[in-house]
């Protein structure tokens, strides 16, 4: 099945417990395979499968206690980049931890649009389909999510803004 990685990534950002992520994906796959051949284009298939995965995540939440998870995720390491010094590496991984933490503690409905937009680079249309919301809602959520992140990572962003003004 294509788009399994994208689906897995989305679920990892919505459900904290990795073994529950596996459960969610298995449910989604079972639900998905029966219709998979009826889908026309690849893009359709991606948006459609992500829709199912997202629903399964929400179902998992509501089965538990109706509360959305905050997620704590490991950061990416910089092994491939040998050119930078250990201090820089340490600094960067600290930065990454902060960013990942900021995203992981966003409310679920804001986090999912950030992941779909920034990480998976989907169009507003696709995100609207996946999150089953109007496109205006998607845009305002995205903007709110970015504002929140900018707020909690203010020192990082201010540097950029300061340079521009």
């Amino acid at each position: 099945m294509p788009h399994l990685d994208a689906a897995y990534t989305l679920a990892r950002y919505l459900i904290n417990d990795p073994s529950e992520v596996d459960d969610v994906l298995q449910e989604a796959v079972l639900r998905g395979v029966q219709y998979f051949n009826t889908l026309e284009s690849d893009n359709n298939a991606r948006a459609w499968f992500l829709t199912i995965v997202r629903r399964e995540c929400y179902t998992a939440w509501s089965r538990r206690d109706g509360k959305m998870d905050s997620v704590s995720l490991e950061t990416i390491s910089d092994l491939e980049d040998a050119a930078i010094s250990p201090e820089q590496t340490a600094e960067r991984s600290l930065l990454r931890e902060r960013i990942v933490h900021a995203v992981g503690t966003l409310p679920g409905h804001l986090r999912e649009v950030i992941v779909l937009r920034e990480l998976q680079q989907l169009s507003y249309d696709e995100i609207a389909v996946i999150t089953e919301s109007p496109i205006g809602t998607v845009m305002s959520r995205l903007s709110r999510a970015r504002a929140r992140l900018a707020d909690s990572l203010r020192d990082l962003v201010d540097v950029d803004v300061g340079e521009m003004s």
């Binding site: 990685d5 298995q26 490991e74 920034e118 970015r146 992140l149």
Partner: protein, 221 residues
Amino acid sequence: MSTERDIGNIVRENLPSYQAPQSLREFVRANAPASDVPPPILVPRRRPTGAARQFLYAAGILIAFLAGWMINNSIRSRQQASAASEAMVAELVDNHVRSLIGDHLTDVRSTDQHTVKPWFNGKIDFAPRVVDLASQGFPLIGGRVDYIRGHTAATLVYGRRKHFVNVFIWPAGGADAGETSQAYNGYSLLHWVADGLSYWAVTDASPVDLEAFRLAYDANR
């Protein structure tokens, strides 16, 4: 505005993406639809020539006609019966899946059988047995009314660990019948007829759980 863009870049460059674990890929492969399997490669065979070929053609056509006629006759009746029950199974599973999406699981949500049973009064013209089986591992969650292929069904919802069992009940047309179990798209179904009522239990848990459910339900008369 530029702040938002910057935050987008920062996020994009620093958030990890994930690869689905191998176990999940294997699960997908195991459950992939059959039509995704590439068709078998056909090996060309040597062909007979001349008169032998003509004779074989004629014989082949004749046999094909005869066989077709016979098979057609015998299958047709069976097909009608099994198509009906297959459509039924598909609809039950669809209903089960639908009940898990969003908030359609129950119309009356209560673990108390004395709340759920009276709720059905006036909504259906039969009286299903409503029992809480929490002590046997199937807590009663609630009930709802469904309409399935011409039947108004009383649906009881039970939990099973993290899964659910939907039990669809309506008056049976025929005599009591023992249980038949089947699977459909990874869901398990168990059907039986008892006391003039037709039962269809559907779950995303295992067939073994359904057997256990049936035993528990029957034991609590």
